[in-house]
């Protein structure tokens, strides 16, 4: 029965991760498209070339004028004085002028004395600038540049081709960008803060608190408490977050309440970054606490009742019972919840997306939300699929590494060790 499981793992885990890894190694974005591109000397390409080849960059940005057969034929077609064509073909064919002024000086000096209007007309015909021209192949671009008098070494040709290519290319720049950008570092710190605080305060500690306290309650009361804490989990997330927004809006409950004490209304959610974090952590923590509570409650229920009786007659107070009997036996559930919730907090962003959208500014932007914004939904409209995929891949790696660390910290091997019974 390995085959079905292997197929499932391949389809639903390996393939998405593999595809993410592949996209992460490209520069795909809205600008490059996901199919091939063309070679085009855009202002952006010129800017990119400026660092390495300032002369070339300046040159290709400027118009170029070349006296060639093509232009002469066009001139003949204009049916101006035939002397122009004859003289240009005889004296100047093949000449290249780096600017319009120089080309026009030559034209003006023709024996038939063209008028100023004609000079302009003629010079236009010899304009061979490459700026904003699209070339279907790299060779066409190079040929065109050479015709214009740019003498390029093969190395320089490569650089120009790279700079002017409009399609996506294989690259590791995404990771370099993630590693070097201070914005990314800030998002990383945000994520670490968000995951650590939500996990420790709510998903584990508060869940433990709820599980232990409900354990000592009469069954009916305990069920009521558990049901109440399940509500955030079972409410559709959009509605749940909307209720928080209603609580914190500038005409919401908090503002109305504080208004009674003369405090002017404000948006408590997005007022400042401290408030934003406070609410983001509460919103996620209240959802996360319920799962830990259920897992821990059932784990406590699984402890034989006689162990509680025994510890009572052994003289253990309730606190000692929790400390010596309950908590040590919850090691595996705590490991599970910590691990699971770390991964789910790392990966989930819908609550933040619905509440603060990462704001105010980028104060509550976390990694998965940033990846979503980068790759799929952002204000500028240039969706950087490659960079977003790289960010997602980083998230997968961080999740795997954290899981391994948890297993080590909780000494997983001792949890699954076999008993050795002998008589």
């Amino acid at each position: 029965m390995i085959a079905p499981a292997a197929i499932m793992i391949f389809l639903f885990f390996l393939m998405p991760v593999g595809l993410t890894a592949i996209f992460a190694m490209t520069s795909m974005s809205t600008a490059t498209g996901i199919s091939g591109g063309v070679w085009q000397v855009t202002q952006g390409a010129v800017n990119r070339l400026e660092g390495d080849m300032p002369a070339l960059a300046e040159g290709i940005a400027q118009p170029r004028f070349v006296v060639d057969e093509e232009g002469l034929a066009a001139l003949e077609a204009l049916k101006l004085k035939p002397g122009y064509v004859i003289e240009l073909r005889a004296e100047h064919v093949g000449e290249v002028f780096p600017s319009r002024r120089e080309a026009e000086r030559v034209i003006k000096a023709l024996k038939d004395r063209p008028s100023t209007r004609e000079v302009k007309q003629i010079s236009d015909l010899f304009n061979r600038s490459v700026l904003n021209t699209r070339f279907e192949s790299r060779e066409a671009l190079v040929r065109s540049l050479e015709k214009l008098g740019f003498k390029l070494t093969p190395e320089e040709r490569d650089k120009v081709a790279t700079a002017t290519y409009t399609g996506w290319v294989w690259t590791t720049d995404n990771f370099r960008m993630i590693g070097n950008s201070p914005d990314m570092a800030q998002i990383f710190l945000n994520t670490a803060f968000y995951v650590a605080v939500t996990l420790l305060l709510f998903n584990v500690s508060y869940a433990l608190f709820l599980a232990v306290t409900t354990h000592y309650m009469p069954p009916t009361t305990a069920s009521v408490f558990r049901a109440i804490w399940l509500l955030p989990r079972i409410t559709p997330v959009v509605i749940y977050v909307l209720m928080w927004k209603w609580l914190t809006w500038d005409n919401g409950f908090l503002s109305l309440l504080m208004g009674q004490f003369g405090v002017p209304p404000k948006n408590y959610l997005l007022d400042n970054s401290y408030n934003a974090w406070f609410f983001v952590i509460l919103i996620n923590g209240f959802i996360g606490a319920s799962m830990g509570m259920l897992v821990f409650s059932s784990a406590i229920k699984a402890i034989p009742e006689t162990q509680f009786h025994a510890s009572e007659v052994d003289g253990a107070s309730r606190w000692q019972q929790i400390r010596y009997i309950i908590l040590p036996q919850l090691r595996w559930p705590i490991l599970f919840v910590t691990c699971y919730q770390t991964l789910s907090l790392l990966a989930s962003f819908q609550e933040i997306h619905l509440s603060t959208r990462g704001g105010p500014g980028k104060a509550t932007e976390v990694w998965s939300l940033a990846a979503f914004h980068t790759a799929l939904n952002n204000y500028t409209g240039n969706l950087e699929y490659g960079l977003g995929a790289a960010m997602a891949l980083v998230l997968v790696v961080v999740g795997l590494v954290l899981s391994l660390i948890y297993l080590r910290v909780f000494r997983y091997d001792t949890l699954i060790s076999k008993p050795l019974i002998e008589d």
Binding site: Q307, H309, E312, D314, Y324, P328, P419, D423
Partner: protein
């Protein structure tokens, strides 16, 4: 330390389990609470250790009224049927737990654990986890944990139920030895009459929440107050014949057997009676002959056990030194020992 239950009652909701029970366990005595399952013996035990609170009545340890004290304040040691060892702690931690929660120093705990472990012969297992121990070893750990704090009372809830036959025999004498060595007052809850008889100074036999009789094992065996007690004690069990009183004698309804008994003087003729005959009192060497047919024979090595059906269909059991001349289907004429016969009235009371 003496334990006294005074008009102790316990009910769960509307279900009355025990009503107005009086029980006095002497200091240093080991008492068995014996009875079928559901008779309230474990409830009594849990009330003594404080896990259940009595509905009414008092519980005294010595002269101290502990009725309203929690388990933590009572200083009792309990061995549970499942042992209730803490699976995540080593043997040493398990045994030392009652001292740990009292915040004793580690050195003192280690010393006491070593002492008690030597007493119950598990000093070589202190670093193991309970899951790495056999049933008998777990039992000893549970005993050591119950004893380490030198409790006023040791309570044992079916401590041998989960052991195999050989180990049960061994632990029986082991528990008795420990109880005698420590001089602790102990109460043993069991449904096994052999355990109760072999381990305890006195037995309190319970039925439906009431103590039917309290006596030493031999008194109770020889002088049961009711048919229930007579039926509960003894292995193989006593056999009962139903009949009527007839001129100061017990007579089977078909007249096949007539047994004059001193206890029946003054009982009107025709009163319904039950006669109890223990297997060792039916066979060779009795004084009243009985004829019947052997329907079942079981060899136990040293002794043989026979079921004999009388002509009226009632059955008697006989245990005799091993012999090979009687087979199922044989007709036999064996005799009853009329002096040892027990006769009970219709309500089950001994006459």
């Amino acid at each position: 330390m003496r334990i006294l239950l005074d008009k102790f009652s316990k009910s769960f909701g509307a279900t009355k389990v025990i009503e107005d029970m009086d029980l006095n366990v002497g200091s240093g005595e080991m008492l068995a609470l014996l009875g079928p399952s559901g008779c309230g013996k474990s409830t009594t035990l849990f009330a003594i250790c404080g896990i259940h609170r009595p509905t009414s009545g008092r519980i005294l340890f010595g002269n101290r009224d502990v009725t309203s004290l929690s388990s933590q304040e009572r200083n009792v040691g309990v061995v549970f049927q499942s042992y209730a060892l803490y699976p995540h702690m080593t043997v040493a931690e398990n045994i030392g737990f009652p001292l740990t929660v009292r915040r004793m120093t580690a050195a003192e705990i280690n010393k006491r654990v070593a002492e008690i472990a030597a007493l119950v012969h598990i000093d070589n297992l202190l670093d193991r986890k309970p899951s790495q121990l056999s049933g008998g070893q777990q039992q000893r750990v549970a005993l050591a944990r119950a004893l380490i704090r030198r409790p006023d009372v040791l309570l044992l809830d079916e401590p041998l139920a989960n052991l195999d036959a050989k180990l049960r025999l061994e632990m029986r004498s082991e528990i008795r030895r420990l109880q005698k060595e420590t001089g602790i007052t102990a109460i043993l809850v069991t449904h096994d009459q052999v355990e109760a008889m072999s381990m305890c100074d006195r037995i309190a036999i319970m039925k439906a929440g009431e103590i039917v009789q309290i006596a030493t094992p031999s008194e109770m065996y020889n002088d049961p107050r009711t048919a229930f007690v007579a039926g509960f004690l003894g292995n193989p069990p006593i056999s009962f014949l139903t009949g009527r009183a007839k001129q100061g004698a017990f007579a089977l309804d078909d007249g096949g057997l007539k047994l004059p008994l001193a206890a029946l003087s003054g009982i009107p003729d025709g009163t319904a009676l039950t006669l109890g005959i223990r297997p060792e009192h039916f066979g060779i060497g009795g004084d009243v002959p009985v004829e019947g047919k052997v329907t079942f024979a079981e060899t136990q090595g040293r002794e043989n056990l026979y079921d004999v059906v009388l002509p009226d269909g009632s059955a008697l059991r006989s245990i005799q030194p091993a012999r090979s001349d009687v087979k199922p289907g044989d007709s036999v004429r064996w005799s009853l020992d009329s002096k040892a016969a027990l006769v009970f009235g219709e309500d089950g009371r001994r006459l």
